[in-house]
Each structure stands twice: as structure tokens, then as C-alpha cells.
């Protein structure tokens, strides 16, 4: 069954590319199919887990597939991918017929890669599908991107290529140690008492997955690439494909259960510092942007910090804190929908005003009130306004970090997430071991000391307190952008606005519908 999610878009892409079928129409047929399958799979596995036949999903024609929906995050990520794909294809608007065909092909391949990764049980195909999805990104940015597109495309290729290799080695070392090459196999290996060695492997995994999710300080490729990419590519990459890294980390941690603290724990305090870099550093960088696309790209990088926070919470609680993983899932879904909508509107604003400089726009809401309303909705969702999907995710993540914590009851050293007793496993490596030992000693010492000043907050709680400031930063840049684009005096560029077509409006409304739906009825994703 699941294999049709991969075969149908590939066939559609082949029909468009080789037989010159009309791009958008063919892609729309395929995306509709994906949407139906995705929603059905989600409903089936989430609400009727007993009567839903998992085997039916993971078999086709009597042959067993390396694909399944058994992992906890698979259905929700599949849902996200299918919604965003549909919206991206519906709102696809290329400069000419030829371009439309290549845009449609890339959109389909990118979404297929993402979906393939999210439903893979085999770890190598999980990795392979993601890599495959990077190719259309690279080609599309290089050919149709804005600004200095070739440099941006090469930068992204080098960053992501290196990160993928590091990740591959990490995954291989892990698989080799546990003698299994599937996710379900890892779970049963852990159950039977095997423990993966710490130190190098989780470090490689965090560096590899982290770069793919634009974790500070490996984020330099992301914002320019999103800003430059054509609209559907930016929607799918920032909204869906980037979640691959977080999906991988959470899935591994979930499969390892209590062992995950020993496995990733050594790196947790470093991760806390880095994610603060995402939230605060990149947050302030976002405030300083003068173009709408750059601002959206940076904001997407910034919001990854919250999901990494959920990961750190989950690790620190040794897999006990189910609220963290639920919050992360909700936030990934919400952020994917929101950033996709924002990039979609970004593309429409550009096609109306032919510029994305914030200074030359203004008063756009007068001629296009509908666009203004949708942008405001997406912007407010991105800030985390209640009753919109992001609020659910962010709120849950913040709450989860204080789960089990009582004011004054613990000292910093005895906080539930203190990392005493976890060794790096790197000591034996020449030069690297001592250097890492020194750096980590300093970080741990600093965090514990600062935590001590705040009356028994552990490192995780402390980080959460700092990360909360990110909400204010988001509000500043998002509301400022809204004011400069839609309100005030009608700018020169805004006078060019003519009006949106039906497809433009509907694709945006489609995404907005889900943002509101999951906001008012979070029960659907919990």
C-alpha cells in the first residue's frame, strides 16, 4: 500500500518530464492521491489503531515492504507532507510552461523523498529518500532561485552533502553495533538488553541530523536557501523535508526508551546551548532582515530551536516525558503548515508587487485584504497565538520541560536532568578526548552555576526560561513585517497589485484551514 505513495508521484513526474504532459494538472492528480492516502492513513492509525491493519499498509502484492507506519511519528509526518504537497501544487505558479513542468517534477520528487523517509522502516532507505529529495532542491535553487542563486545552491549542497555523510557514518555505526538495519529492529535489540556505545555515535548523529535541521551553528545554509528557492520548493523544504532530522532524532530516542539518556545524554547540555543560539541569536538576526523572504527563512531556522528543546527535555527525562514528544510532534506539524503558508503568501506577494524589500511595500491590505488577512493569520500562528496550531505545540513543549519539577525541592546538582555519571566514551581518542572533556566540563560547570542562582532550576528549565524570550522576538519581527507590508501608506510596489487568482486563494485557505483546525481541536493530534 505505502509503496503507491512513492510510485504514483514518480510516475506522474515521469509523465510530465518524458511525455510532456501538462505540469500542474498532472501533479495535482498525484498530489490529490497523496492527500487522500495521507489523511486516510492518519485517521486509520490514530483513531482506529485496533481495527487498522498495519500489515495491509506495509505489504503489497504479497511482498513485504521496508515501509511501515508503526513508528509513532510516521502518520503525523505523512499527514503534514501530504497537506503541504497538495497546497504547493495547487498554488504552483511558474513563469512559463517549461518552467511549470520542471517545478511540478521537482515538487513531486521532493515530496516523494520526504514521504519515503517518513514511512521507511529500513534505516538506509530512510536516509536514501531524504538524500534524493535534496537533488531537486539543489537544481531548482540553482536554476530558478532569487538573488545569488548558484552560490546559495552550492553552499547548501556542500553543507548538506557533508552532513549527510557524517549522518550516514553515525547511522551505520549504530546499526552495526546493534546488528540491525531497521527501526523496529533497534527497538527489539534494545529490549533484548543491548546498549549502544555513547560518545562518538550520538555526536555524529546530532551533528548530521542537526545540520539538516539547521541547528546553530550549522545553520548558515538554510535561510539563504529558503529565501532563494522557488515557492513550492521553499514550502516543501522548510515545511516538510527539514523535519527529517528531528523525526530521526525523536524516533531513535523513542525506540531506545530509557537508554536514550545514556546514549544522547552526554551531548545534552551542549545541545541546550546550541538551541539557545537558534532561538536567541538567529531570532535577533531575523529582526534585522530587510527582505520578507530572508526574514521568513531565518524565522524558520529560529523555530527549530523549540523543537530541539523538546528533544533535550525528552532526553533529560530518559524517555519518560511523553508530553515532550507529543508537543514536538504537534509543533512540527504546526510549524510545517505555518511556514509553508508563509512562503506561499511570500510568493504571491512577490508576484503582485514584484519585490520583497520591506521598505518599498506598504498598504497592500487596501488592495488585497484577503491576502492581508491570511498573512496575519499565518504570522500570528507562527508567534504562537492561542487557538492556532503552533500555540498547542509551543505551549506543550514549554510545559513539558517543567514536568516533574518542583520549586525549591531540588538543588541544581540533583535536578532530574543533571548528567552526572554519563561518560563520553571519547576519552581514549587522541587529542579529541581531552579537548572535548575540557569543553564539556566548562559547559556543565557554567550551567550548574547559573542554575544555582535561580533557586534549583535545572539546565533544561533554565534554557526554557531563556527560550521563552524567543516568543517576544517572534512577535517583534512578524508584526513589524505585517505592518510594513500591509499597513500604512501605499508603497510604490503595492500599487502594482492586481489581484489574486482562485487557485492562489484556495491553496492558502486550504493550509489556513488546517492551522485553525489543529488549533481549535488539538485532540486530533494528541
Amino acid at each position: 500500500m505505502l509503496i503507491w505513495l512513492i510510485i504514483v508521484p514518480v510516475i506522474a513526474a515521469a509523465l510530465i518530464g518524458l511525455l510532456k504532459m501538462p505540469g500542474r494538472a498532472t501533479a495535482l492528480v498525484s498530489a490529490t492521491f497523496t492527500l487522500i492516502m495521507g489523511v486516510w492513513a492518519f485517521i486509520c492509525t490514530t483513531f482506529f489503531p485496533e481495527s487498522c491493519c498495519i500489515d495491509c499498509w506495509s505489504q503489497v502484492g504479497g511482498r513485504e515492504l521496508w515501509l511501515s507506519l508503526e513508528l509513532p511519528l510516521s502518520p503525523i509526518m505523512l499527514l503534514l507532507a501530504s497537506i503541504v504537497t497538495f497546497a504547493a501544487v495547487l498554488g504552483l505558479k511558474a513563469p512559463d510552461k517549461d518552467a511549470e513542468r520542471s517545478w511540478a517534477i521537482s515538487t513531486l520528487l521532493l515530496s516523494t523523498g520526504a514521504i519515503g523517509a517518513f514511512v521507511s522502516d529500513n534505516i538506509i532507505s530512510f536516509y536514501a529518500f531524504h538524500e534524493l529529495a535534496l537533488i531537486p532542491t539543489f537544481v531548482m535553487i540553482g536554476f530558478y532561485g532569487r538573488g545569488d542563486r548558484r552560490t546559495i545552491a552550492w553552499t547548501a549542497t556542500v553543507y548538506l552533502g557533508l552532513a549527510s555523510m557524517v549522518l550516514l557514518v553515525g547511522l551505520l555505526l549504530l546499526c552495526n553495533e546493534l546488528q540491525t538495519y531497521t527501526f523496529t529492529g533497534i527497538a527489539s535489540a534494545i529490549e533484548s538488553g543491548k546498549t549502544p556505545s555513547t560518545g562518538l555515535i550520538p555526536g555524529l548523529l546530532l551533528a548530521g541530523f542537526g545540520t539538516l535541521v539547521s541547528l546553530f551553528p550549522f545553520h548558515a545554509w538554510a535561510a539563504p536557501a529558503y529565501a532563494s528557492a522557488p515557492t513550492p520548493i521553499a514550502m516543501l523544504h522548510a515545511g516538510v523535508l527539514k523535519k527529517f532530522g528531528l523525526y530521526g532524532l525523536f524516533t531513535l530516542a523513542w525506540l531506545m526508551g530509557p537508554v536514550c539518556k545514556d546514549f544522547f545524554g552526554y551531548w545534552n547540555n551542549l545541545l541546550l546551548l546550541l538551541l539557545l543560539g537558534n532561538v536567541l541569536w538567529v531570532g535577533y538576526v531575523t529582526v534585522a532582515q530587510t527582505r520578507l523572504d530572508d526574514m521568513l527563512g531565518n524565522s524558520s531556522v529560529m523555530h527549530m530551536g523549540y523543537i530541539f528543546l523538546a528533544f533535550a527535555v525528552y532526553i533529560a527525562s530518559a524517555g519518560d516525558n511523553t508530553l515532550a514528544i507529543k508537543g514536538a510532534a504537534a509543533l512540527m506539524l504546526a510549524h510545517g503548515l505555518t511556514i509553508a503558508l508563509l512562503f506561499l503568501l511570500n510568493g504571491q506577494i512577490e508576484s503582485q508587487t514584484r519585490t520583497l524589500e520591506l521598505d518599498s511595500m506598504g498598504g497592500l491590505a487596501r488592495s488585497l485584504p484577503g491576502l492581508g488577512f491570511l498573512f496575519a493569520l499565518a504570522g500570528l500562528a507562527s508567534i504562537g497565538l492561542p487557538l492556532l496550531a503552533n500555540f498547542v505545540g509551543e505551549f506543550t513543549v514549554f510545559v513539558s520541560s517543567f514536568a516533574g519539577w518542583q520549586p525549591g525541592a531540588t538543588t541544581a546538582a540533583a535536578a532530574p536532568d543533571a548528567l552526572s555519571g554519563i561518560t563520553s566514551g571519547l576519552e581514549s581518542i587522541w587529542l579529541i578526548g581531552p579537548v572535548f572533556g575540557w569543553i564539556f566540563g566548562a559547559i556543565n560547570c557554567a550551567l550548574t552555576t547559573v542554575a544555582g542562582w535561580f533557586g534549583g532550576l535545572g539546565p533544561v528549565q533554565l534554557t526554557t526560561v531563556f527560550a521563552l524570550w524567543g516568543l517576544v522576538i517572534s512577535a517583534v519581527y512578524m508584526l513589524r513585517a505585517f505592518r510594513r507590508v500591509f499597513e500604512g501608506k501605499v508603497g510604490l510596489a503595492s500599487e502594482r497589485a492586481t489581484g489574486l487568482t482562485g487557485a492562489d486563494v484556495w491553496s492558502a485557505i486550504f493550509l489556513a484551514f488546517f492551522i485553525v483546525l489543529f488549533g481549535v481541536a488539538p485532540i486530533l493530534i494528541f
Binding site: L18, W66, A128, E131, L132, F143, N176
Partner: protein, 485 residues
């Protein structure tokens, strides 16, 4: 794959495919002299002969025959390439439209192919050497075959001089091997006996002999430090010959390497130190090869030269299999890698030949705008280069993954090899950069004025399509479906 350590005696009957190939080569020479058939026909006849020969090559009992099968298949594809390249060949051999002297190339290819097939059956150094010389001598002639082309002459001479050096090293190694062990036979039992019996003086001589033999094999395989000839010879040789050197000749090199190294595989548990030295030596060569090949390729602008450096880089990944010295699956992995490499490289050479014939240039920039003018062909070329780069869901990715896996396995019992890892990562990442240069040229550049769509010959179209389908099918199937059991 089984029974790697026992040397096998072959009967004359098992050499029938090799003899048949040579007989066909002689037949083509005779027919060329005494009949007036158009010369291109011989290419087709020879290709069919090579395929049939490859089908009957016996891969049992130690799987070395697979190298021969790869060589036969490559030869057949190269002959088809020569069929399409006929016009350039005529101009560069006889000058003008005369066909004189083109048919010998086809029979030389067959003879070299027969040499590789014999090589796989070698159980001692004498046979190894003789078969290897059959390949090498035919290759010297073929590299310099376009006698009206200065580059080809230069390639022929360079190959001859450096090839003679490597032959010398091989012979010297064989002499030392005989001197220390008292036999020419390569087999695990003998080596095991030697390790237990002999003093350290003999051991030094033994390592020297194995090292020299390895250098001879490295020359054919295109591994550092014997890789110097590759870029110049590939660039200068006629394109079909470059393809042959890049794939079949490399397969011969790795066949030699397997024949020398594999007997040590079973000895690792008994003599971890003595065999481990060998693995470390190969690891050093692999690291150097990865570095030279992949970094050298980054700045290339000539497509054939790029493939030359790429062939060095790929050889580095194949060498990594041999660092996993205790593995029983090495030959299987190496031949898998060679198949993936063959499918992609032959397709790439077909593309280069087509572009050279119609646009008159072998520079990467000659591929400009193919994405616009020939979208279908451009896609097939993309698949080939993506496979070389190791893009997932192509066979090239899967074999590169096998290489990493072999390294990870080797780490389990030789953790000191960890330093090889950065070289592999840098090599694989660099591959993405330089192979994508061709794709960039095809999709990012617009066609220049006067660039018309390429006319794709039928044979080229068929081979490109076949290779692309094979690359994708072999690359996706193992990741999509569980094994039957």
C-alpha cells in the same frame, strides 16, 4: 565467494570461453583481410561474441569469474560504443572517410577481454603475469590507436613507459615471492605454513614481495601511488578505449588484487598481527587514492579527464573493502561495486562520445543546455552521473554504502583504522561537487546560439536507457522489499 582459500585446478574445458574469444578475434582479423564487409559489422559481431562468452564464464567456485563476466560485458558495451564512434575513428586512423585499419581495434578489445577472463582463473603468479600482460600489451596498442591524433600517441607512449615500470615491479615481486616461499602458488595453506615456519628475515622479504605485487595490481586498478598515468591516458586515448581502460582494465586490477589478498582473509584469526600489517598498508593506499582522485577531480574541465580522476576516487572506495581483511564477502562486494561503476561509467562515456561527435568537444562545457535541447537524454545522463556521485536510490549509492559498511565492520577488529573515516567522508562529499558539474552544465546553463538538439544514435539511446534502468532498479529494489526469507 565460498572456498576462497583453496586453490583450484581448472580443466581445459573450463577455458573454452576464453579460447572462443581469442578465436573470434583471429577470425575477425582474417575476415577483415579477405572480405569486403563494412568494418562496423565486426564491432557488432565482436560485441555479440563477448556477451556470449561472458554468459559462459564459470564463476564457481570462488566467484573470481565474476570479474571476467564484468570484463566481457564491458567489452561488449565498448564495442557498441566503437560502432557509434566509427566516424571519428575513420578520421583519426586512416584520415578522411577510409575505413582501413579500424577492424583491428575490435579484435584487440576481444583479446584483452580474453586476457582478463584467464586472469580470474590464475592460481599462481606465472599465470597471473602472463594473462595480465595479454591485457596490458593490447591496451598499449589501443591507447595509441588514433595515430593521426597527437593526444592519442602521447597517451600510448605514457601508458607504455609507466606500464613497463609496473610490469617490472610485478616481476620483481614475483621473484621475491619465489625466493622467500619457494613456490609461485598463491594460497592460504602455503602462506599459513610459511607464517608459522619462517624466521623474521624471510618475513621481511615476503612483505616486500607482496608489496611489489600489490603495486603492480594498483597500477591496473588505478590506485595511488600508481595512478599517475590515468588522467593523461584517459584524456588522450580514443573514447571507447578510455571506457575499456576505465572499467575492464580496472576490473582486471581488482581481480589481481583479490587473488593476492583474499588468501590472507582466513588467516586473520590465526595471525592477526601479520595479516593486520597488510590491512594497514592497504588503508594507507586507500586514503591516498581517495584524496588524490577526489581532490584532483574538483578542478577538471575536460569530461574524460574528470572521469579519469573519478575512476581513481572510485578505486579508493573499492580499496576500502580490502581493509576489511577478515571478511568473506570481499570479492562479492568488489564485483558489486564494479558493476555499479561499469553501468554508470560506460553510460557516461557514451554520452561523451555522442557530444564529441556532434559538438566537437570533450569539455564539460560542451554539455551546456542539454536539459533544454535533449531533456530525455539529459535525464539518462543525470542518472549515470548521479550514480557515480552516490545519490541514493541509484546503485552507486548502495555500493558506496557497502564500502562504508565494510569500513565499519573492519573497525570492529582493527579500531586503529578510524583515521581513514575523514578521507572517506571528504571523498564522498567531493564527489557530489564534481560530478554535479556536468549536471549544472546541462540544467543551469542555457544552450548557446547555434546549439541544436543532439541526434541520439539508436545504439547510444538503447545503452543509456538500459544502464539507467539497471542503475535505478538495482538501487531501489534492496531498499524497498524485504529479502524473500
Amino acid at each position: 565467494m565460498t572456498n576462497n582459500t583453496v586453490s583450484v585446478l581448472y580443466t581445459w574445458g573450463q577455458f573454452i570461453p576464453e579460447f572462443a574469444l581469442v578465436a573470434l578475434a583471429v577470425l575477425i582479423l582474417m575476415a577483415d583481410c579477405f572480405t569486403a564487409l563494412p568494418k562496423r559489422v565486426y564491432a557488432i559481431v565482436a560485441a555479440v561474441g563477448a556477451i556470449i562468452g561472458g554468459y559462459f564464464i564459470n564463476t564457481a567456485p570462488n566467484f573470481y569469474g565474476a570479474f571476467g563476466t564484468i570484463a566481457c560485458l564491458t567489452t561488449a558495451l565498448v564495442l557498441l560504443l566503437a560502432y557509434d564512434y566509427h566516424k571519428v575513428a575513420c578520421a583519426s586512423i586512416g584520415g578522411g572517410d577510409t575505413e582501413d585499419g579500424t577492424a583491428e581495434l575490435y579484435s584487440l578489445l576481444l583479446i584483452a577481454c580474453a586476457g582478463i577472463c584467464c586472469l580470474c582463473k590464475a592460481r599462481d603468479i606465472i599465470m597471473l603475469f602472463v594473462s595480465l600482460e595479454v591485457v596490458t600489451l593490447s591496451s598499449y596498442v589501443m591507447a595509441g590507436y588514433f595515430r593521426r591524433n597527437q593526444g592519442s600517441i602521447e597517451a600510448g607512449v605514457k601508458y607504455l613507459v609507466l606500464g613497463a615500470l609496473s610490469t617490472g615491479l610485478l616481476v620483481f615481486g614475483a621473484a621475491w615471492y619465489y625466493g622467500t616461499t619457494g613456490t609461485f602458488v598463491l594460497n592460504a595453506g602455503l602462506i599459513s605454513e610459511f607464517f608459522t615456519r619462517q624466521s623474521s628475515v624471510y618475513l621481511t622479504g615476503f612483505y616486500l614481495s607482496v608489496g611489489l605485487l600489490l603495486l603492480g595490481a594498483f597500477f591496473k586498478a588505478g590506485a595511488a601511488p600508481m595512478q599517475i598515468w590515468i588522467p593523461d591516458v584517459y584524456q588522450g586515448s580514443p573514447t571507447p578505449v578510455s571506457a575499456f581502460l576505465a572499467v575492464a582494465s580496472k576490473a582486471a586490477g581488482f581481480a589481481v588484487l583479490s587473488i593476492i589478498i583474499i588468501p590472507f582473509a582466513r588467516l586473520y584469526p590465526a595471525f592477526p598481527d601479520k595479516v593486520g600489517v597488510l590491512a594497514s598498508g592497504i588503508a594507507v593506499a586507500a586514503a591516498a587514492t581517495l584524496l588524490v582522485g577526489n581532490l584532483g577531480a574538483i578542478c577538471q574541465n575536460n569530461a574524460k579527464r574528470l572521469l579519469g580522476y573519478s575512476s581513481i576516487g572510485q578505486a579508493g572506495f573499492i580499496l576500502v573493502f580490502f581493509t576489511n581483511i577478515a571478511s568473506a564477502a570481499t570479492v562479492y562486494c568488489v564485483t558489486s561495486y564494479l558493476v555499479a561503476y561499469m553501468l554508470a561509467t560506460v553510460a557516461a562515456f557514451f554520452a561523451i562520445a555522442m557530444v564529441r561527435t556532434q559538438r566537437g568537444s570533450e569539455e564539460i562545457s560542451a554539455f551546456r543546455g542539454l536539459g533544454k535541447t535533449n531533456p530525455r537524454t539529459a535525464f539518462l545522463i543525470t542518472v549515470a552521473f548521479a550514480s557515480l556521485a552516490g545519490v541514493p536510490l541509484t546503485y552507486g549509492f548502495l555500493v558506496k554504502y557497502y564500502s562504508f559498511e565494510a569500513f565499519v565492520e573492519a573497525m570492529q577488529y582493527q579500531s586503529g583504522l578510524i583515521w581513514l573515516l575523514p578521507f572517506m567522508i571528504v571523498g564522498a562529499a567531493a564527489g557530489f561537487y564534481y560530478y554535479f558539474k556536468v549536471l549544472r552544465e546541462m540544467y543551469w546553463e542555457k544552450p548557446q546560439e547555434g546549439d541544436t538538439a543532439l541526434k541520439v544514435p539508436v545504439v547510444t539511446a538503447a545503452v543509456l536507457t538500459g544502464c539507467a534502468i539497471a542503475i535505478i532498479w538495482l538501487g531501489t529494489e534492496p531498499l524497498m522489499f524485504m529479502p524473500a526469507n
